[in-house]
């Protein structure tokens, strides 16, 4: 059975709900869950002040209602499965280390920021700084998988150090900004300034992006690792075509202002 928390009404100011993660909820009686702390603006309140708690989960939690003003859902989660039945506010899944967070609608800014592990699936679109670095931090996501079925806002994968970010729709400007390693796969359009100041890592583009002049063309080839990644994305539900799996990719090395050890791989003959 699934443990379900239903938001009764949209909060007037943002609600910070860091306790909404499986390891804090599962195995607890409803009354105890209702007493967990949330921050409503600058006031410390309780989960029960906003949510109705029903059922008892044995590994899965579902959160329902208009959660666009609810922040930090699933942040820091380390296991289990948490599903948000709709849109969710900022910092969803930020810093998570394990488990699976599924957002059936759109995610706000900083979704999956500074992740360490686990999987974040966004069925809709994500805001800015998807899998990005927390302010003041050099490195962003250090592990795990982020899959967005819609678009992603600016600076997705900023400071990415390890892990995989895949976006089916449009990838916003400056994706992979200052990235250190890891992989970003863009199945749709790629915004300008992708890979700006990247040191290492890979950005894979299925459309032709406007490249910064500090990227240099190397060759067109079949990167063997890409087959593994694209097949993995297929199993995660993204529409990867046979052509994308079998095609050659143009390798552009950059950013020349940094180590020039990163790469942007562009599908051959991409539009």
């Amino acid at each position: 059975m699934t443990l379900t928390l239903t938001l009764r009404e949209t909060p007037s100011v943002p609600l910070e709900a860091e306790e909404l993660r499986p390891e804090r909820l599962l195995g607890r009686p409803a009354a105890e869950i209702e007493r967990l702390a949330v921050w409503h603006g600058n006031a410390e309140m309780q989960v029960g002040d906003f949510f109705t708690v029903a059922g008892s989960g044995d590994g899965e939690v579902r959160v329902e209602g208009d959660l666009r003003r609810v922040k930090y859902v699933g942040s820091g989660m380390s296991g289990g499965r948490l599903t948000v039945a709709g849109d969710v506010g900022m910092h969803a899944g930020a810093g998570m280390t394990g488990g699976e967070l599924v957002i059936e609608g759109d995610a706000g800014d900083w979704a999956g920021a500074a992740m360490r592990g686990g999987r974040l699936i966004v069925r809709g679109s994500a805001g800015r700084q998807l899998g990005g670095a927390m302010p003041g931090e050099r490195a962003g996501t250090r592990g795990g998988e982020i899959v967005v079925h819609g678009d992603a806002g600016a600076e997705a994968g900023a400071g990415l150090r390890r892990g995989l970010i895949a976006v089916a729709g449009r990838l916003g400007e400056a994706a992979g900004l200052r990235m250190l390693a890891g992989t970003i796969v863009a199945l749709g359009e790629v915004g300008p300034r992708a890979g700006a100041s990247m040191r290492r890592g890979s950005i894979v583009a299925m459309t032709r992006p406007a490249l910064l002049p500090t990227f240099a063309y190397a060759c067109t080839y079949r990167p063997p690792f890409l087959a593994l990644y694209l097949r993995r994305l297929r199993t995660l539900g993204l529409a990867v075509s046979d052509r994308q799996l079998e095609a050659r990719y143009a390798r552009w090395s950059g950013d020349g202002l940094e180590l020039r050890r990163g790469e942007i791989l562009i599908l051959e003959d991409a539009a």
Binding site: R222, P224, F225, L228, R231, R232, L245
Partner: protein, 302 residues
């Protein structure tokens, strides 16, 4: 005990504990995957002379490989983990990395692993790059042809080496036909390899020699040409040729299954006698009895 006209000795194969690994080689075509696998498993017939034993387990369909290309699975065995790691680095480095279009993956899930890609990455001279996908680290090594992809760590497992059957017949044509039939049947068993050329050894050995420098020498008791010379011959009258099939497996089960199907196929194909090699039971950890295999087999009992 008679099996399809062949006399099966009441004896056992004496096999040994080793450590093994499974290497998946993929390439742009089945031919190049096989080319690399053949090269990697060359000169790997006996751990005594070659430091490891290796062979091709089977060809893999694209649906069975990590990168969706045609592949070949190779099994490699050594005395211990250290030796296994060294042999893998040598052979993957010299025979897979160098082969056009190949990539190399671990094919044995295990907590005990050895570092292979993590050593071979240094061929990249600083230009290598790693990828971590779903908890598995891979190394991308730039090469003139493009890029060599190799998994960092390879799983290892307890293995059984030295399972065997020995076929005897009046002449070498008949015994070879019998051995070939056995090999063809045994190849269908997963988790094992037959490390000798074409799966067949014509030169079974005994431990030791009259020459101090040699660890092993010809099995004179099984040489038909020496029947009248040696103190004790094991070659029955009328036998003119003897051949052996050695089996290494990832566990005792595959070795036993291979021996059983090999026994039956060899008997059907004309061997007049079938026996097995052992050292009196004092060296190997595994004793696989031929009669035991046959009496436990439902088909044979029927």
């Amino acid at each position: 005990m008679k099996l399809h006209g062949a006399e099966v000795d009441d004896t056992f194969a004496e096999a040994f504990s080793m450590v093994g690994s499974r290497v998946i080689i993929t390439a742009a075509s089945p031919g190049w995957a096989m080319e690399s696998a053949r090269t990697m498993t060359g000169f790997a017939t006996s751990v005594i002379g070659c430091k490891c034993e290796a062979g091709i387990e089977r060809e893999l369909d694209p649906s069975e490989t990590p990168d969706g290309r045609h592949g070949v699975s190779v099994l490699l065995f050594a005395f211990d983990l250290e030796g296994l790691g060294k042999r893998l680095v040598e052979r993957v480095g010299q025979c897979v990395l160098t082969c056009p279009t190949t990539a190399c993956f671990n094919g044995l899930e295990s907590e005990e692993t050895v570092d292979v890609g993590g050593q071979l990455r240094f061929f990249g001279d600083g230009y290598q790059a790693s990828k971590l996908l779903d908890g598995v680290r891979y190394w991308r090594v730039p090469v003139m042809e493009g890029e060599f992809l190799v998994q960092e760590r390879f799983g290892t497992g307890e293995a059984v080496a030295g399972g065997n059957i020995i076929m005897l017949a009046p002449d070498e044509v008949t015994v070879l036909r019998s051995a070939e039939a056995a090999v063809a049947a045994m190849r269908a068993v997963e988790g094992m390899i037959l490390p000798f050329p074409g799966g067949i050894a014509r030169s079974g050995s005994k431990p030791g020699s009259r020459y101090a420098a040699l660890m092993a020498s010809t099995n004179d008791g099984m040489c038909p040409t020496l029947r009248a010379q040696v103190d004790k011959t094991h070659v029955p009258e009328g036998v003119g040729s003897v051949m052996e099939i050695v089996i290494d497996g990832l566990g005792e089960g595959p070795v036993r299954r291979a021996m059983l199907v090999g026994l039956k196929a060899a008997a059907r194909a004309g061997a007049t006698h079938i026996t097995a090699g052992n050292y009196g039971g004092e060296l190997g950890q595994y004793h696989i009895g031929l009669h035991e295999l046959l009496t436990q087999d439902a088909e044979t009992r029927a």
